[in-house]
Symmetry: C2
Subunit: 381 residues, 2 copies
Amino acid sequence: MLVKDRLLIPGPSQVPPQVNSAMIRPIMGHRSNDFSKLHEEIGQKLKEIFQTENEVLILTGSGTAAMDASVSSVVNEGDPVLCIVTGKFGERFAELAEAYGADLTVLEYEWGDTYDLDEVKRVMAEKKYKLVCATHNETSTGVTNNIASLGELCQKHDALLLVDAVSSMGGMDIKTDAWHVDLMVTGSQKAFMLPPGLGFVSLSKRAIEVIENNDSKNYYVSLKKAKKSQSKWSTPFTPNVSLFYALDAACDMILEEGLDTVFARHELLTQACRKAVEALGLKLLAKEENASRTVTAFTGDVDTEKVRSIMKKKYGFAIAGGQDRLKGKLIRIGHMGYMDIVDLLGCISALELSLKEVGYPVELGTGVRAAMEVVYEGGRA
Amino acid sequence: MLVKDRLLIPGPSQVPPQVNSAMIRPIMGHRSNDFSKLHEEIGQKLKEIFQTENEVLILTGSGTAAMDASVSSVVNEGDPVLCIVTGKFGERFAELAEAYGADLTVLEYEWGDTYDLDEVKRVMAEKKYKLVCATHNETSTGVTNNIASLGELCQKHDALLLVDAVSSMGGMDIKTDAWHVDLMVTGSQKAFMLPPGLGFVSLSKRAIEVIENNDSKNYYVSLKKAKKSQSKWSTPFTPNVSLFYALDAACDMILEEGLDTVFARHELLTQACRKAVEALGLKLLAKEENASRTVTAFTGDVDTEKVRSIMKKKYGFAIAGGQDRLKGKLIRIGHMGYMDIVDLLGCISALELSLKEVGYPVELGTGVRAAMEVVYEGGRA
């Protein structure tokens, strides 16, 4: 029986038809004036979305390429680096810092928790760090870390702050400049509504200074090279031209909807999803105050892998399980980017049917009713 | 706020991405061998979907073009024609027969009812008709007429039977040959999952004989010309080449899913939709035994136009109202072609929210629960 594919993993996410259409424009030469003009226009739009006055570099690579470029462009062997780890993607920063020979301090927290600000304060008071790495939105757990407080702390201690906002930028209210983030990293394939293949990094003046005076051993993933080229609206290596077309279209969609409306939509999706999960007697991993607005993770007295398999086979919903230490113990629903409330209501309906099929006690309609009440009470206009 | 467009009117219907992709293939010359080969392949696939051993002609035009071609290719001035009218599209046959100067008899029934077989028997016993026109699936009311009985009757009286299956072919079990239908007409934009622009007509041997010996005054909408060209896998005039690509892809999708599975899916969508409508205290127009499997029409103590407007604006669902004499009194949901159960569950959720917003008494979750019960009890595998 026909079942439509519905991609609700926490990235890659759904690509709007208008973005897909943009990608089939004929390829232009990446050293042409036309391409430079496009690049410059996109550059302005990215600044708005990043809420920054600074430049946002575009790299042809994944979000990890952007993380790698950021770490490797700042860190020399022996540099003191503090990594705050609250999940799988926090661990990735630690792996990168280690790979580039940093003098590494890791503060690790339970998966599902956020970091402890007091502990970070104590640790940063004891040693001067060149770089502090933190995850804004931990995709693996659906937890959002407070970046504003970390920004203040890093300013005070004159450390650069590098933040992974791969799964939140474009969906959550991220104030790059107001939060004093020196390197804000994201990728194309989440709330940006693009296929995978581009990474973005914004650079503060302090970050530029450090990077330009740094003697990094990287080659492709070099922010120094990217910065130098982008000052002429060019790229050091061949960029993914089709994805630049797509990026331009996606930025237009985000800015036309309006950042505040985009954030409100992600808030609505989050609240509807959380209320439905609770109504079904399942257990949310993140506390309300730390809950991500782009991915909701939950568990419960049920075979999560079997539920996911039915969701996919019978209803077309690709949703995620747990990663690493949470493998087989978690369900994660991505609600980011090109997604509206009807998508979520459909997903909750399918979740209920799948739960019932594996013998979980569910009165059909319970979850979707809870989600609908959020929509209705929100007076969604 | 982002709201995705969801086309659930009773046609045009949603086009699958793989069909859209097919349409951007480069245009080929319509007199080339490659095009003939494609045409021939499509011809075989159409026969399977029409459940006929006979030829299915492809016209570049709408469903009405195919209806016009059928009437005008068979009818000469003064020919006795019987039109069975159960709604707006039945009326269209009468208008066509009149336009071509037929000696017209119209049997008209209440919109929402099916025809009365005994009355048709009486009328056909009294006069010899060259052509009987009937609607299989009346889009305007969501009523399906019994064609098998009409086919027997026409065989007995040696009248040609012309049937409009525009909104049902490809979604409902239509046995062109077994039902003795001489001219079976459909269009591309309903359960065939294509954009509008093509019409199809299958021709029985009796129909071919009449048409070839007929002195029709039509030019573009000529089945005689289409038949002559198609015998060499060509077309009399320039065909819509892109839609031929799309048609090939759509036929593949239908045949790969399997006709029986396609019909079962439309049955599931119908039952889920009908049960939800009833659970919400609304009134179905068609009785169960005559209910269309591609469109469900209902009414109720509610401002239907206001409900439709909220459905569109807040949830993206384009659903239809009533036509002509039922204007402003009806809601029609199309569930044909590229549509699965999650699409319907989303639509019912949005319907409930919209009903509640206009003050209709609805306990949120009532309709969607009823639809989910149909899915669950159907043991949908």
